[in-house]
């Protein structure tokens, strides 16, 4: 299985597959001509990486998860700890965004949105530094 097929089978782009290899997440075999060769386990790994990325895990976190996944003597506490930390980060990010949204909504509600230049959005930004 070459990289193109692996990309199709895993849903990870060729570019990203090479990047994940480059950053030490995986090490596919090579055939005599230098082409990367992927087996079923490699596809599984790529799908794992893709799923973790879609859940918002950072690359270092994905790397740690991969190691735990492949470690038969892992303790689930390590996985849970990593996941809980990630959840906390996501929650913080949501809080930040919600704060921005609330402020922007307040401004937008006060803005007429007509042809006149008067606009509390602009004036508020200008005076809130």
């Amino acid at each position: 299985m070459n990289i193109g097929e692996a990309a199709l089978a895993s849903g990870v782009s060729r570019k990203m597959i090479r990047y994940y290899e480059q950053t030490g997440l995986m090490a596919p075999g090579r055939s005599a001509n230098g082409y990367r060769v992927y087996g079923p386990q490699d596809i599984h790994t790529l799908r794992f990486i893709g799923a973790a990325r879609r859940l918002g895990f950072s690359m270092p976190d994905v790397k740690a998860l991969l190691r735990l996944w492949q470690d038969r003597s892992r303790s689930s506490a390590d996985v849970k700890r990593l996941t809980d930390g990630h959840i906390a980060q996501l929650r913080n990010r949501v809080t930040e965004l919600n704060t921005m949204i609330a402020a922007l909504e307040t401004l937008a509600r006060a803005c007429e949105g007509d042809d006149r230049p008067d606009c509390p959005i602009i004036t508020s930004i200008a005076s809130s530094g």
Copy 2:
């Protein structure tokens, strides 16, 4: 006023002040020795940029807002439109994050978090590709 004082007065770092200039957001004067020179209006502009960035506006949006701010014949509708679009983007991002959080919480709740390797988080990620 040199760039260091301007940074202190505006709360924008020297690096970012130069970056904002480089990307065409502002054009401070220069003194004979080549140093950038900032007046009260420049500080005001920097504070405006900083406030807009803190509200999560992208650089292109900030550029547009700056132009509208300085355009006396602007219509508030333009400002509102830009702001509403930005709010919509932030809301989408929050929805994405909340989806991730919900999925992760479900997984985390099912994980014992003890010394044993059994962990629905890992197995679920591994099979959800």
